[in-house]
Every structure is written in C-alpha cells, then in structure tokens.
Point group: C2
Chain length 340, copies 2
Amino acid sequence: MRGRNPFDGKPQMTLRDVAEAAGVSEMTVSRVLRQRGDVSDKTRQRVFDAARTLGYVPNKIAGALASNRVNLVGVIIPSLSNMVFPDVLSGIGDVLDATPLQPVVGTSKYDIAHEEHVIYEMLSWRPSGLIVAGLEHNDAARAMLANAGIPVVEVMDVDGDPVAAAVGIHHRKAGRRMAEEILARGYRRIGYLGSRAQGDFRAQKRLAGLEEGLAAAGLTLADRCYYDGRSGFATGRAMTNEILTRTPDLDFLYYNSDVNAAGGLLYGLERGLDIPGTVGIAGFNGFDLLDGMPMRIATMDSRRTDIGRRAAELIAANALTDEVVELEPVFLPGQTVRAI
Amino acid sequence: MRGRNPFDGKPQMTLRDVAEAAGVSEMTVSRVLRQRGDVSDKTRQRVFDAARTLGYVPNKIAGALASNRVNLVGVIIPSLSNMVFPDVLSGIGDVLDATPLQPVVGTSKYDIAHEEHVIYEMLSWRPSGLIVAGLEHNDAARAMLANAGIPVVEVMDVDGDPVAAAVGIHHRKAGRRMAEEILARGYRRIGYLGSRAQGDFRAQKRLAGLEEGLAAAGLTLADRCYYDGRSGFATGRAMTNEILTRTPDLDFLYYNSDVNAAGGLLYGLERGLDIPGTVGIAGFNGFDLLDGMPMRIATMDSRRTDIGRRAAELIAANALTDEVVELEPVFLPGQTVRAI
DNA sequence: CTGAAAGCGCTAACAT
DNA sequence: ATGTTAGCGCTTTCAG
C-alpha cells in the first residue's frame, strides 16, 4: 500500500466517498460541488446531504492539478509591520473579493535575495497572478517574473524599470514635489531624517528627489540623520534631537515617514519650538491613524489603497501587459508647514 | 489534446523537460531538485544546469498531490490593519523560518460566517497546520477544526472553550487584573472606552473582567463610551471628550487599545488635566510604536509575539494535542497611573 | 442529465 | 546511483 504521510491524522475523505454515499458517480459529485454543468435538483440535494454529513472538504491540490487553474494571487511585500503594506493589501482584497481569486501574502523582509526565494516559492504554486512590491529585484527574480506566464504587477513605485506591469507613485517626483512645497513656503535650511536600511529604495528615491528639488533652487540639504531599526515616536524624537543638536539652525525637517515625523512633532512642541514658524515638519504616507495628533502633520498621501486596487484589477482582468500606472501622490499641508 | 487553461501564458515546463535536457530520468531530476537520495555529483551538476538554463520552476501542486505533503500553515486572523496581528505573525514567522513550513495568511474580517469560509478554503489546500485567532467560531467552523486531522491552534485567547490547542492570555483575567491595579491606585470612578464591534470578543471579555473586578470591590463602571470604525488618536480624543463631558467626575479611563488611550492622553494633556493625579489612563496591548508619547501609557503587554511563537512551535512539532498554553500578560504602569 | 476513461506533474516504493 | 511503475484526487473530454 501507498505510504501515508506519518503526520496525517486521519485518512482523507475523497469525492469517491461522497459519490458512494450519494449513490452517484464522482463526476456528478464534482459537478454539484463546483456548481458546474446541469444536475437534477434531486441528485444535487442527495449529493449536498452526503457531502455535508461526511464533512467532506474538497482537495484543491488535486483540483488545481487536474484543471490547471489555481485561484490564488501571490502578493509579495517587504513586511507586515510597516503600516503601509496592510493598506495595499486591503485595496487588493477589495477588488479580489468580487472575484474567485484569493490573495496569498509572502514577505521579503526588505531583502532582495530572500525576495527571490519567496517569488520562487510562490510561482511554484502556479498562482493566477503575482503582485510584487517595488522595482528592485535581483536578476534571477527579474527572470522569473518576466517568464512567469501569468500577470505580474509591481506595485508602490514607478520610478525605475519595471519587469512587467507597474502601479504606483513616482517617489523621486514625490521628493521633488516636497522640495518645491518646502521652498515655496520659505524654508531654506532643510534636514532629512530617515532610515539607514539599504532595502528601503522608495525612501531613498524620495530623498534623492528632495535633493534634486533643492539643487534646482541652488540649495543643498543642510543635514541628515539616520536610524536603524523600527520607526516610531521614540525614533522620531531621538533623530530630531540629534539633528537639531548638531545643526540648530535647521528650519525644516523632512522625515521618511509620518510616524517618525509625529515623534519629531511631539519633541518640538515640548521644546517650545515654533512649528511651523521657526521649524516646519513633513512626513510621508498620510496615515490616518495619526489624525488627532496635536497638529496635523504635513505629508503626502502615498495612495496605498488605490495602488492595491489598481494592481488587483490588472490581475483580475488577466492582463499580461506591461502597462505602467502612475498615480499622483497628494500633498496634504496639514498644520506643520507655513501657509503659502 | 487536453484543454489548456485559456489564461495560460505559456506551456508549463515539467520535470520531463529537464530530464530530457539532462539526459536522465525524471526521478533523478526530482531527487536532485529536492536534495533527497543519493545522486552522483556529475549527474547532479548536469541536472542543475539543465534546470537553470530552462528556468524550470517545480510544480508544487503536483508534488503535494503525489507526496501528500503540503508545507503550508494556514493562519487566520481578523484583520491586518490592527497592529496586533502582524506582531503575532512575526512570532509565527520566527519559528517557522527554521522549518520547511510557510505561513499563509487569511483574514476573517471580524466576521464569524466569513471565518467559516476562510477556514474551509484553507483546509481545502490540506495545510500541515492551522492557526486561528480567537475561540469564537460557528458550529460548522468548530466541526471543521475538530476534524481537520492536522494540528490546530487557537491563539490570542484562552478564556473560553477551545476546539483544539490554544495559546493566549486570559482576557477576562486581564480585565480583572486591570481593575485591581486601578483600585489599588486609589481610583474609584472608572469609565470604559472601547469599540462597538460585535466581533471583538477579547475586548468584550476584558470589559467583563474589569466589571467583575470592580464588583468585587463593590463598585460599578461609572460610564462607558463606544465608537464605530477604526481606532486611532482622533477616535480616542472623541471618545474621551464625549465621556468626560457626560461624566466629568471620572477619575479613570480604561481604553480597549493603547492607540485610543494615546488619543485620550493627548486630549487630556491639552485640556490641562492632571494625569495621573486627577485622571488615570490605561490602554491595552503594549504597542512600542507609542514609546515616545508625552507620557508612557499604562498598559498590559498582550504577549503577541510569544503567542505566535508558541503556536508555531506546536504546529512545527506536529502536536495533535488540545493543550492550552496560558501566557501571563504583563502590567506596565507607565506614567499615566498613580504610583501605588 | 449522468457516467467512464484518461491524465494533470510529481513522488513513493520497488527494482536494478 | 539510477530507473520503472503506479497512482495521488480531481477535472476534462467524450459517450451515452
């Protein structure tokens, strides 16, 4: 007899069991359970009853192999702890809920080599589509994505060279745009506060964009400050303290994330800084969790949910395109920058 | 010829293709690719080369069907937007990373009927284990979990009647414990601020525990205030304003979540309330994101990462037990309650 | 409306 | 160290 996995608790119930109980063929059971093809009401009822009493749960593995159809969409994001990505997932879910497709999430941990591994694992389940955060992949990953033979969408960022379709904002432009807003409001001594993580390409692009924007006005960044580890209020405070101690005459602080900016805001208010008069503050992302801070922080809505939605729509439409959808981030001045 | 899925981009590459290219049998290729059984170095190399040049990606569907082994662990949680659950996932990941198992996440949206559906979908992929948040399931779901034939662990909560193994804290006890801490610090007019959501059983249990604890001292809750929608600073502020307007003599505010408590804290500080003198504040969860608030909020660490870890360990050990692991939440007084 | 046959791509078990 | 055979549980296809 065929070896059974020693881990198996109990024998698997099969279509055949249901068929026998209902006194019909396996095929009929299959048709009833998938609501495909015509089956008489009487038979259908018998089959349903049999399946229900037996507690039959179909084996999708077998079904997928036979039909060559897997209603899963792989979604690969760097991390779930960063609030950015759950928002993207929620957009994806909104769209896929109306289809038979189901998202399956994997995390790359901001590590390109690990990402390659996750992509490989995902593809080996033959999903109906793949959504991958970011444009930065190693060659092996790019090759897999290019040859996957299923719709692939790179999300978040369109500032680079997509392998496939892409939906996102242009982070460099977002940085430039922020520079313009800052300068238009009369700030001149600008500091940047962000993560040291090599894997956060999008923040790096925003920084590059910011510097471009400043350069266009003949300015350079007055100082910058980096942190390791997680973002948070404490992180924002610590960085702010560090950069203002080192360069006290800064008149603007641009943070990689709203969460850190919020920490900076709290720090500044406690020190009695005149915000936005003496020092302006801006973050990035537009987290509504932070509504209710002492001041609304200037930020840029990164369109996360929309990005998820648009990506999912491309997958649901089975679009094997390499279309690039660039969404416009929305600048939200809040109360931490001077009025124009 | 066999019908091909019209969605397929290109024909699937199979073991046979690699076998032909390498001039060996399919079995040999299979052995090489799974690093199982002895294969000569020369053959191994030929196979690797062939697989790599062809860009072969194994079909796990077929492999799983043949081997009756699926290295996936289903994880079903209410939502990803609530920061609680990513923390649990990260604990699960820590443990599973050292095994061949991979977590697959599904969300029940705080809806028991939808949860049943998600459990069914998960089980139909024949995972090696299932981790489900909460003890509250409908009968169909309970039946599925009980008969899954794989290790099943219910996480977060042990206050109820687990179908299978359970790892969590006892939320009613946590509420009682909080009542004791509050009373021991001399507060007497206590208000509760939490979600109206029916699906948040654990917060409801904490509230029940709080009331029990107060009752034990001959007290009752002085007021309560509920919100719809998402937690956040703005939500915390609004609730706090509402409850203090209605019942100005409250001397303690117990929130369902740290995030709302933080909003309440900001509100209170702005109004010049003496915290913790006149009014004490406590939340729940122990989110370290909030480190760096103007005051450290009193809270109870819900042991989320540990819960994830312990649950994953049970799954990894293939434990078909109904063991209940009760972890102790840790009370963190912070600065928003009076010293004892 | 229902059934029988064939086979999806892979791996267990048994050769050799 | 490598090959051969059978079959996992389901769905496609074709026959009635």
